[in-house]
Symmetry: C2
Subunit: 408 residues, 2 copies
Amino acid sequence: MGNRQPVAKRAVTITDVALAARVSVASVSRVMNGHANVLPETRQRITAVIEKLRYVPHTAARSLITRRTQSIGVLLPDLYGGFFSELIRGIDAAARELKLQLLLSSSHGDAAEMVAAIRAMHGRVEGLLVLAPQLDAAELGELQADVPTVFMNSRVTRSTRRGAARRAAPALVIDSYGGARAMMRHLIGRGHRTIAHVSGPANNFDAHERERGYRDELAAALPRARPVVVRGDFTETSGYAAGRELGAGPGRPAAVFAANDVMAIGCLAAFDSLGLAVPRDIAVAGFDDIPLAAYVRPALTTMRVPIVELGRGAVTQLAAAIAAPEAVRAITTQLAPELVVRESCGAARTRRQSTNHLQRKRQSVRDGDHDAAQHSHHDPRIRGARRPTVPSPHPPGNRRARGRTFRG
Amino acid sequence: MGNRQPVAKRAVTITDVALAARVSVASVSRVMNGHANVLPETRQRITAVIEKLRYVPHTAARSLITRRTQSIGVLLPDLYGGFFSELIRGIDAAARELKLQLLLSSSHGDAAEMVAAIRAMHGRVEGLLVLAPQLDAAELGELQADVPTVFMNSRVTRSTRRGAARRAAPALVIDSYGGARAMMRHLIGRGHRTIAHVSGPANNFDAHERERGYRDELAAALPRARPVVVRGDFTETSGYAAGRELGAGPGRPAAVFAANDVMAIGCLAAFDSLGLAVPRDIAVAGFDDIPLAAYVRPALTTMRVPIVELGRGAVTQLAAAIAAPEAVRAITTQLAPELVVRESCGAARTRRQSTNHLQRKRQSVRDGDHDAAQHSHHDPRIRGARRPTVPSPHPPGNRRARGRTFRG
DNA sequence: AGGCGGCGTGTAAACGTTTACGAGGCGGCG
DNA sequence: CGCCGCCTCGTAAACGTTTACACGCCGCCT
């Protein structure tokens, strides 16, 4: 009893507490888990010992028997940039409300790496959140985990292609296709008749969807116009190259719609280097509404994607799937981007319009039914807070400053 | 054997494998853990069954007995903004190399919340990474976890105050004080004689250190100058307000040094609204080098803080502490910021100078010794890649585009 | 030839919980 | 007064691993 080991002191266990409180471990467990059937006096004695010994239950042991870990795994392809930052923030906020721990894992270039990561999480998480834009449905199907999974922004398995609907997990995606069409409608509505597209990497789902939206809307609204697509890879460098090509070549388009903001900013630089004034000589539009988009000049017209909502919604759906695994349906929820009009397309400086025609919509993979179980739209961002140009006569809202209270 | 339960299928355990391979669980375990003493033929038989049954060991059960979880907890005050994004990226990269899982937890406003979060991680992690700029040493001491802990950017416990060194954990901090002094030297070196400071929130460690650096360098270099400090809170709004106050009041300073970039950008907006030209009428400097800093105009002169290195180094130190808990020393490692000269202080457009006099330095809390065990400097960022103004005649390096290969 | 060491494998304990089950006490009611 | 039920609490099994130890076998050394 009294012999003290010089080695690392063992953590205090439930048995230590039971001994000290002169009760059985069962009673301690009951107190810890808030069960009712324990005498107030006993409870108090146990609580005091717990406090005194600073007992905190061993999570691994607990989850071994309860089969609950109170945590979910998040698998991302990368972490760089504002997109993932916001996504994680949305996920974290929702997980915190649901009292779920977050196990983070990133840098998964291919399916094999992702499978390895999933394996490493086995027995550690109750569910998985997977963002794998570079994987198609077949590959995703292969990494079938033994826990509920929700996919974010992955290739949609289309019910139109018979027998192809093999993914049994729900998914949340940004409606890149609809967003691209909305942007094209806007550009065409502003009078542009020749519109080029700078696309993203070939194996990226969103890149593909945005290009498809570009082509479809162009064909629908301007049947006589010929689509012009310059392939980029979502990097600024590729956007610059595309901008040089489009701006210097013959038949310069009236507007350029880049598949993301970063490339659009590259285009801006390219046009500047060519002596072209934006939007007077050529209009530019992007996609994503990254923070930079509001600060470059001219400020970038773009589609804002609801990243925080994406993260939130995914967690909510995952929690539902964990609670009732038998009730999960392979439903794909689409989140609609929002048109943000700034200067780069020649719009009025302060004008800001929302795409009413682009309502939040859902589509079922199996059938056309609409489920009411939707995530809560708690996106904390203040929609109008972002500054239209830099510098502006008035200080913007404080949305962007939240974290900065802690970090300089 | 052949009876199939209609209920949720139980996960395959090591016993299932042992049964199927007609060996004992011990042998399966030995194969799983790569122990040598198992016959090739037996090993092969077991491996085949493992493959066939897709057996993956239950992490909780394993870590219960081995007391190893292969994962570390990361406690952050918040997730918003580029700082945390980069920090997590650095942490993730290092953790991935060390095959450590990351348990993420954020939004800890006070010590109580943090203690709760630490408790929730008990038995789940082998070590803790804590970023708590709003906590002082005493509070940090209280949340003494039973696992190795490394603090990031926290209040330094000074050895000068006797008996105050109660924190037994190592820490990594950004040298905000030294960085602020370096920036002041730069401003004074450019000829500015009246320099005001916009400080951060009162309870923030970095804010305090930067103000201290401002005051000390000012006193040292310009003994006759009177320090002028306007309190901000790291938000753009507060920077704007401070800028209005400083720009419109009597005795307008020649330069304004803001405690972070966000407030500096607020100042830029304020001066613009007052009709002041930067840097001709007034110079502005920030701190952090957030991505925006290079894109606003005039581009912001600032101190770049090595965020990724901070995360990397913290993980490295934590791994060392986990491996050899008895060898940990409460050493505080300082990471030096780097001066980035842009336009907002009236420098030459393209000039870029590094602060040679501000070497990376370390200071021990207990004594003055220097430990060689330093983290590897693998910061992948390309130093000169950032664009000085927008738009620029040449496309920037592709550093900023990495994650964008996956996400539009 | 017999003992002995090494090697391959199995048995069982241990990790720290939760919880089904049962024992004991006590009060109420027949 | 006795029985029954409820309430409190303890005992022990179970979760899925790892690993110390034991055991049997074979070959080598003496």
